[in-house]
């Protein structure tokens, strides 16, 4: 996916994802596992673009997340930019992307992002945090599947 279409879709999804993240993420939490809408958007968008565009999407996703969450802007920006880059790079490799890949990548990205967050902001109760991270990873993986399928449908050139 390229050009103005990608720009429009990315802007809309990041904007909407930011709104969801700010307002409804906590209301949809199950046993401490809350969805990370912005991370799902970054992951699925990065799966249909190259690594350069993936980094830029990750960067803006990190800025939005840092701003709405109200803390650790640098942590969010760096982790999301690197994730966008790595997923974009993965897309450049010779493998066929599908919704199962979207699930695995979203779940894995959630674990990486949350563990980085844990390293940057150490906390006392690690076990509940890790359990919630696993729950969130599954949650995000499930959310990434339909979004990825939708993006693939509207995508002009899904593979680079």
């Amino acid at each position: 996916m390229k050009g103005a279409k990608l720009g429009f879709i990315a802007f809309f999804l990041l904007w909407f994802g930011g709104g969801c993240q700010q307002s409804v993420a906590s209301q949809f939490s199950i046993a401490g596992a809350a969805p990370d809408y912005l991370l799902v958007v970054i992951v699925t968008l990065a799966l249909v673009v190259n690594r350069r565009t993936g980094s830029i999407i990750g960067f803006f996703g990190g800025v939005i997340q840092g701003a709405v969450a109200g803390g650790h802007m640098a942590t969010y920006v760096i982790t999301r930019t690197i994730l966008g880059f790595l997923i974009g790079w993965l897309t450049g490799l010779e493998f066929e992307g599908n919704i199962a890949v979207a699930f695995v990548v979203a779940a894995g990205s959630t674990c990486i992002a949350q563990l980085t967050f844990l390293l940057m902001s150490p906390r006392g109760a690690i076990l509940p945090f890790l359990l919630a991270t696993i729950g969130s990873a599954m949650y995000n993986g499930v959310l990434a599947m339909p979004l990825y399928a939708l993006l693939k449908r509207v995508s002009d050139s899904p593979r680079r």
Binding site: W15, F16, G18, G19, C20, Q22, S23, V24, A25, S26, Q27, S29, A34, R51, R52, S55, I56, G58, F59, G62, V63, I64, G66, A67, V68, A69, G70, G71, H72, M73, A74, T75, Y76, V77, I78, T81, I82, F85, F117, S121, R123, G124, A125, P128
Partner: protein, 269 residues
């Protein structure tokens, strides 16, 4: 190259954000992003709450009809005892006042709608700001008890750092807020210092390992802080951990407020 450049830009943005926060301001990038996100956030929050109410109402419709019938029958009974009901109402009001939700001396309550939650950061976003007289450090309470303190303020919105935040620890990065607290079930009430433990509990440290605190005791603010008045409910003691070695008694406190029920809060200015 792009990755490195964006990462460096991220560090710069983080530094600018922290710099502004230390001066109790919000940087332009954060403020702009929040302004762009706010409309969709408010709409989604409203839709989500309405849908939740609708679904809850629909699912419990049969139960509500039955309850309505029962209440009508009870109303007839209550009519007979109206005098008694008035007396109980009066007692109820008195109890509310005694529990700390009465007027707070020297403070005014500004109602605010919570439209943003950040679980990882233990922060809330509310729809009042400096235009309504809100200042950083003001106490924020719900009908259940103290929720936290205002951390940063913009003209029409503010972010609240919740009591349960580890950021309330004295040695944590960023702004430290220490809250003095009393155990009101004892006379004289032992006082301690409160800090966030994890996302669901708090730790109240008493400097006397033999402080007469018991599980189930009600903890309220001591009023030592200029911006947090005395008598606001914090929560109840759920665990005690005396340490003769360090000469302290640590009480784990379960906060009175419930995150899931935070729709409207009050900022004390």
């Amino acid at each position: 190259m792009v990755l490195v450049g964006l990462s460096i830009l991220g560090v710069v943005l983080g530094a600018v954000q922290n710099g502004s926060r230390s001066q109790e301001h919000v940087d332009r990038v954060t403020s702009t992003v929040r302004s762009v996100i706010m409309p969709v956030g408010l709409v989604l929050n409203s839709i989500s709450r309405s849908t939740n109410s609708f679904v809850t109402g629909t699912l419990s419709a049969t139960k509500l009809v039955e309850e309505n019938r029962r209440l009508k029958a009870m109303e007839q009974v209550y009519a007979t005892y109206s005098e008694r009901i008035e007396l109980l109402k009066s007692e109820n009001d008195t109890l509310r006042t005694m529990q700390g939700f009465g007027p707070v001396k020297g403070k005014k309550r500004i109602p605010a709608v919570v439209y943003g939650f950040s679980i990882n950061e233990n922060r809330l976003t509310i729809n009042v700001g400096s235009n309504q007289g809100i200042k950083a450090g003001c106490a924020v309470e719900s009908a259940e008890g103290l929720v936290g303190t205002v951390e940063d303020v913009e003209p029409n919105r503010s972010q609240v750092l919740m009591l349960t935040s580890a950021g309330l620890q004295p040695n944590a990065k960023g702004k430290a807020v220490l809250i003095g607290a009393f155990d009101v079930n004892r006379n004289p009430p032992p006082a301690g210092l409160l800090r966030g433990e994890n996302s669901s509990t708090l730790t109240l440290t008493f400097m006397d390992p033999k402080a007469p605190v018991q599980i189930g005791d009600l903890i309220v603010t001591s009023g030592y802080s200029e911006k947090i008045p005395q008598g606001l409910i914090i929560g109840r003691v759920i665990q005690l951990d005396p340490s003769e070695e360090f000469g302290t008694l640590k009480a784990r406190v379960y906060p009175a407020f419930s995150l899931g029920r935070l729709e409207v809060v009050y900022v004390l200015i």
